[in-house]
């Protein structure tokens, strides 16, 4: 009981803070629109894939990008929390580390799913036709994605003591995860090395699953996409929990 209300408290804090920070919400809406209009529109004037125009083609990728960035940075933000004494107060609370982790993770998921839903609405203006089926599949993928990447961010952040490593994480974790996922290009006809790398990147399957549901342009069957996403999420949640247990 104590752990449950503690969990709710941790979650409540994150959502409250998120909804209060209007600037973050605005940038979370504007950034993907810039991607879609400037990048999608610019490149889309010369290329298209599988009958969909490029802007529409990268929409699932931009959706993924938005949730990925929000989630991972939310997780990494724990570094800042740890330096602020306010988090000490949370650390001495009579709550288990598992509760601490789960509360934070669920808070982060809620934030990025809220941002994801803004973008889903915006999708209507970019020729995305939703069906109940495609909406459910997309939300399911976003849920797996946000839980996995928030956990990843938390797992890394819990072990860091300063912001010095942020650039490295950007270069070696976030950028490769995004650019090597097929978010911006189809998975066919890739050079051998890229073919290999995209196949071992779990985000590839998430983008593929969403693209399949929204545009019918999937490379893998949906059960493979969902399976990989699920395993990715579970692995990251375990990693995050272990990392929290070891956090001093």
């Amino acid at each position: 009981m104590g752990e449950l209300s503690g969990l709710y408290a941790l979650w409540y804090r994150e959502v409250k803070v998120f909804l209060r920070e209007r600037s973050r919400i605005i940038s979370s809406i504007v950034n993907p629109i810039i991607w879609l209009i400037a990048f999608g529109g610019g490149l889309g004037s010369t290329i298209s894939f599988g009958g969909a125009d490029y802007q529409t083609f990268i929409f699932p990728g931009v959706l993924m990008l938005t949730v990925l960035f929000t989630s991972i940075f939310f997780g990494l933000y724990i570094v800042w929390d740890k330096r602020m004494d306010f988090f000490k107060e949370v650390m001495v609370a009579p709550l288990s580390r598992l509760t601490l982790f789960t509360g934070k993770m669920m808070g982060g998921c809620t934030d990025s799913l809220l941002q994801g839903s803004f973008l889903i609405v915006i999708g209507v203006f970019f020729n995305i036709n939703y069906t109940p089926y495609s909406l459910i599949v997309v939300i399911l993928f976003l849920l797996f994605l946000s839980a996995a990447t928030t956990s990843l961010g938390l797992a890394i952040g819990a072990q860091m003591s300063s912001f010095e490593g942020f650039g490295l994480i950007q270069s070696f974790v976030i950028m490769p995860l995004f650019f090597l996922s097929g978010a911006l290009y189809p998975l066919e006809n890739l050079p051998a090395w890229l073919l290999f790398v995209t196949r071992i990147n779990p985000l590839t399957y998430i983008v593929d699953g969403m693209r399949g549901a929204l545009l019918g342009l999937n490379h893998f069957p949906i059960w493979i996409d969902l399976g990989v996403a699920l395993v990715f999420m579970i692995t990251m949640i375990i990693a995050g929990t272990v990392s929290f247990m070891r956090m001093h």
């Binding site: 009981m1 104590g2 209300s5 503690g6 709710y8 408290a9 941790l10 409540y12 804090r13 409250k16 803070v17 209060r20 920070e21 602020m84 004494d85 306010f86 000490k88 107060e89 949370v90 650390m91 001495v92 609370a93 009579p94 709550l95 288990s96």
Partner: protein
């Protein structure tokens, strides 16, 4: 009730807390007084189960800090040295979250929050973001938060650090009220001797991780036993004063005479009778700083930023 048994913390080569045995009674305000880096916060952190002792053990509310950390945590309140309230939330929300994290039953949460807000006079600002609070208000909010789950023991780590004198004395009033009205046992660390003097029933003077002395502030000061008389005398009879057995030092400068002696109350008459015609007399009682000085050979704040200020005051007093 707090008891420590040879509790020790070693950081690499630094022994921060060195085999401390301590016993704090129920309902007591107990002070850990010492300069920065003496090991006070480390000791407190171990008792609050944030740090694990290298050696030894302790009991807080009869719970073992090593084997029952979560029971210890439930039974204590902690107010940290640095502000630890969430700036992005309102005062009320800070308290609400704390109540939930500490398992305060939902039916009493709101009334308990009102109660503690009342206690620290923050009711009318409860709905404002903590960002907009002054330093003193944040401290009060954190005190309130520490009390929300009715802990039997409250740890206060430098509760008035960096606050102006007026706010500080307000906070002292709140702490005293808490101890009186709620019967909470309070363990407080400070490097302000005035604070230890004004608040604590008993004080442990800590230096280099060890207890140098432990007693009530009054008894500690008596131990030094030395007081100072400053008098303006035109033609002081210094030789006569110097022969008095209880006088340990006499100085004269520009018509000011400074006499260091023991038990000033019993001897002031004799001193004044012998010194000559005084136009002005001032007494200064020993402070805990004098106690610290005697025990360690240096002032309590020599290492801190305020050190120069203290010395300035001393120079003024002596000169």
């Amino acid at each position: 009730m707090i008891e420590t048994f040879g509790i020790t913390k070693v950081f690499k080569t630094l022994v921060a807390v060195d085999h401390i045995d301590l016993s704090v009674e129920d309902g007591e305000i107990f002070g850990l007084l010492g300069p920065n880096g003496a090991g006070k916060t480390t000791l407190l952190s171990m008792l609050a189960t944030i740090l694990r002792p290298t050696e030894g053990n302790a009991k807080v509310n009869s719970y073992d800090i090593i084997n029952q950390p979560s029971r210890v945590r439930k039974s204590i309140g902690m107010v940290f040295q640095a502000p630890s309230s969430d700036e992005l939330l309102t005062g009320w929300e800070n308290l609400y979250l704390h109540a939930m994290m500490y398992g305060v039953p939902s039916e009493v949460r709101r009334s308990r929050i009102d109660e503690v807000l009342e206690l620290v006079d923050l009711k009318d600002r409860a709905k404002d973001l903590v960002k907009t609070y002054s330093g003193g208000m944040r401290r009060r909010l954190e005190l309130a938060r520490g009390l929300l789950h009715k802990p039997k023991v409250l740890f206060l780590d430098e509760p008035t650090l960096g606050l102006d004198p007026q706010t500080r004395s307000h906070i002292w009033d709140y702490i005293k009220r808490l101890s009186k009205e709620e019967g909470v046992t309070i363990l407080i660390t400070t490097h302000y001797m005035e604070e230890a003097d004004a608040l604590c029933d008993r004080v442990a003077i800590i230096d280099h991780g060890r207890i140098k002395a432990l007693d009530s502030p009054a008894n500690l000061k008596m131990r030094v036993g030395k007081s100072m008389i400053r008098a303006k005398v035109k033609e002081p009879n210094l030789e006569k004063i110097k022969t008095l057995p209880y006088v340990s030092r006499v100085e004269a400068k520009d018509g000011d005479v400074i006499i260091i002696l023991s038990e000033v109350g019993a001897h002031i008459q004799e001193v004044l009778c012998n010194i000559g015609e005084a136009s002005f007399v001032e007494l200064r009682e020993p402070t805990l700083n004098d106690v610290f000085l005697q025990l360690t050979g240096r002032g309590i704040r020599d290492e801190s930023a305020e050190g120069w200020e203290d010395k300035l005051i001393q120079v003024r007093q002596n000169g």
